[in-house]
């Protein structure tokens, strides 16, 4: 991750969800995890498009599972967070923390 380059909000949430689901997860599991934790009902298309973008950046990797009858004969694609993805999460967290640090902010008084 280049200096000054931050994860988008959806990228950040999806990467965090994937990091929580150790050992790889497919798109629907990621979507369920986000819905369970944040209440946001994200479309599966948005999840996969973002996972693709994260894979192109080298933050996640994917591998194909076995096709099953419950899936209409379609194979699963499982994603897992790579070292670069973990670094990107750390940098984003640090950036947010440093922006929040300092004098009392407006949102704290609400």
């Amino acid at each position: 991750m280049k200096r000054g380059e931050l994860l988008g909000s959806l990228e950040h949430i999806i990467l965090l969800a994937l990091a929580r689901l150790d050992g790889g997860a497919h798109g629907m599991i990621v979507r369920r995890e986000i819905e369970k934790r944040t209440g946001r009902n994200i479309s599966i298309g948005a999840v996969y498009a973002t996972l693709e973008r994260l894979e192109a950046k080298g933050y996640v990797s994917s591998f194909t599972g076995e096709p099953t009858a419950e899936r209409g004969g379609r194979a699963k694609r499982l994603f897992r967070v790579e070292a670069a993805g973990n670094r990107a999460l750390q940098i984003s967290e640090q950036t947010i923390r440093s922006m929040k640090a300092g004098p009392r902010n407006r949102w704290e008084s609400i």
């Binding site: 497919h26 629907m28 599966i44 298309g45 996969y48 099953t68 419950e70 209409g72 194979a75």
Partner: protein, 193 residues
Amino acid sequence: MRYDSAPALACWLLESVVPARYREAMLGDLIEEYNLRTKSASPLTASRWFWSQACRSIAFTVWSSLRSGNWLISMSIASGVYIVMAILKLTADLMISKLVAPQQATQVVLAPVVFLSAAAIGGCVAARARRGAMISLALMVMITVAVSIERKVCAIPVPWWYEFGFLILGPLAVLITPALIGLLMAGTAQPGK
């Protein structure tokens, strides 16, 4: 193409729009979740959920492709097909008016047949080249018909629903014909299923 009991039209729409890179995995996830939901909820609720996911995923994909610039290639292909379609339709219209049926009433009856045939052929050609091109073509057809209605291009007096039919059925012919052909071919390839 196997959709089990999941809404076939929604599946086809997704297959038409979603990039091939993650199409199979995404559809598989949706079908698996749909099958799980049909066990715990009514089929209607599960279908509603499936459709909601499909529509929102399509909207997201179209918006993403517009932002990434992929639409330029799709639009170029769609424009080419659109020109060929227009030539095809004008030639057919000319032949009908000059040779086959010069009467206005016959032209009113034959015009939708020619229009829908041209739209269906155009849809199939665009879908073969690129799925995004098919959607662009459907939009172009819709805009053309809307402009024609607004400018009152049709010289023959016709009821409002006649022109409205062109507006709805034109883009639908572009989008649905390749799907119908696809389903038909899948049916012939797997006669047992």
